[in-house]
């Protein structure tokens, strides 16, 4: 489930990323490179997951 992203400027003057999901969950994401939600926002147009390395039984993740 991918969210709808938007950027808002807060009353404090910070820019925050808002991620809104269909189920009503809303994320307020600070623009911090170390924040994984911000990384997901930056990479939102990339394929969601790569193909993992797996062993005999776990052929796909």
């Amino acid at each position: 489930m991918k969210p709808i992203y938007s950027e808002v400027v807060t009353p404090n003057g910070d820019t925050v990323i808002i991620a809104l999901y269909d189920n009503g969950v809303m994320l307020s994401i600070p623009m911090d490179e170390a924040n994984s939600d911000y990384q997901a926002y930056l990479n939102k147009d990339k394929a969601e997951q790569s193909t993992p390395i797996v062993t005999n039984e776990a052929k796909t993740k």
Partner: protein, 407 residues
């Protein structure tokens, strides 16, 4: 006659003439034999590291060597009065919530298709199937309260692998660089398990705290990679060792199985006691030693603040007639500036101010934050008196507020 210096055996004097020599030799031999019978034979110890301990006065016995990393403690209830005991070494275990005690997000989490979803604290799940369930389960080996149950739901026909993954923060990885490390855990299968062998992998990356999907990490290697174990319906402790690359900046542990056919009611694996440590396997211990410590360690990555109706959030202030702000000091410093995660809905939150006025709000949004504190606001539904204080609470059973700084 003379006597020997230590045991007093009778011996001829240096100047004695040879007389009754055979008797003298026999007397000496018997004395030696009597003494030796009181001594502990070397066959008492049979294994490297064995010790000799007394079970009573003048009664020595073998005390078998303990396990790696254990220390010897006195214990009057044992035969020898001694006992080997696993010693607590702070930080030995690099896995947080390895005993699956902490479940801030809930005790049963539904995981959708092809997207990592956090479940029990620090553990995230991935599967290409349409649905997967991860839950905290009370089936656990002695010494544990819970296991993590990784399950393909009943009647599900997906045959992609189900994986449970924990990413370890770089600051807790670098000490293992270039060393042999061992991942160990207890595992059993459910009654309707449909998979084959379990897959266990330790993944390594060369860039600090990339997070996300570990299979996409820069410099990815797999220093521990095994799929030789066929699970049973009883918990078995499984250790696997490998050498962590000298350039490792990030590690992840992934445990997976691949189901077949259509799922029965208990198509699952149960996992607990997960430990990643330097060197050979030793007895399990949590990373911090206490439930309090484990919770605080997990809160560095995720902090549940309020869930359900009428839960307190904190104090706020109307900065003007259409904006109410609140601030929270986080219980522990988080890994990075956190995301606010809430569930939005009509009147899900409220601000109660002086004179009994109540202002209902649909959401709360991040205003600014550090790793230690968060300031949030509502400027959409807020309608109050500028300068007035307000008590902020949830106002709906589905309301929810958490902070996350996961990898």
């Amino acid at each position: 006659m003379a006597t020997s210096p230590n045991y007093g055996w009778l011996e001829p004097d240096n100047t004695d003439l040879v007389k009754n020599g055979a008797l003298a030799i026999r007397t000496l031999g018997n004395a030696i034999d009597t003494t030796m019978a009181t001594m502990t034979p070397k066959s008492t110890v049979t294994t490297k590291g064995d010790l000799v301990a007394a079970t009573a006065a003048s009664t020595p016995a073998r005390l078998a060597v303990g396990n790696n990393g254990e220390t010897l403690v006195a214990d009057s209830s044992t035969t020898t009065g001694l006992r080997w005991q696993g010693s607590y070494t702070a930080g030995k275990n690099r896995i947080l919530n390895g005993s699956m005690d902490i479940a801030q997000r809930g005790t049963s989490i539904s995981v959708g298709s092809a997207s990592y979803t956090y479940t029990l604290d620090r553990w995230k799940c991935y599967s290409g199937n349409s649905a997967t369930t991860v839950s905290q389960n009370t089936s656990a080996p002695t010494g544990f309260n819970y296991s993590l149950k990784l399950q393909r739901p009943n009647a599900n026909t997906g045959t992609n692998a189900l994986s449970i993954v924990q990413i370890i923060e770089s600051a807790n990885v670098v000490q293992l660089q270039g060393q042999t490390a061992t991942i160990s855990f207890y595992l059993k299968k459910g009654a309707n398990y449909s998979g084959g062998n379990i897959s266990i992998q330790v993944l390594s990356g060369t860039v600090a705290d990339q997070g996300g999907d570990p299979y996409s990490w820069t410099g990815l290697t797999v220093p521990i990679n095994d799929s030789s174990y066929s699970p049973t319906t009883s918990f078995v402790r499984l250790p696997y060792s490998g050498t962590i690359p000298s350039g490792a900046k990030e590690l992840a542990v992934a445990i997976s199985y691949t189901p077949t056919g259509t799922a029965g009611a208990d198509d699952a694996i149960y996992i607990t006691g997960v430990q990643l440590e330097a060197g050979a396997v030793t007895s399990y211990q949590t990373a911090t030693g206490t439930i309090q410590g484990e919770l605080a360690a997990c809160q560095r990555y995720y902090t549940l603040w309020a869930s359900g109706n009428s839960q307190p959030i904190g104090m706020g202030t109307y900065l003007n007639t259409t904006q109410v702000n609140g601030s929270i000091s986080l219980p522990v410093e988080m890994r990075t500036t956190p995301t606010i995660s809430i569930v939005t809905g009509t009147d899900y939150y409220k601000a109660s101010s002086g004179g009994g006025g109540t202002d209902t709000l649909n959401s709360l949004t991040l205003d600014t934050c550090s790793t230690r504190a968060i300031r949030f606001y509502n400027a959409s539904e807020a309608a109050g008196t500028s300068g007035q204080a307000a008590v902020l609470t949830t106002n709906n059973a589905a309301a929810f507020l958490a902070f996350q700084a996961e990898l």
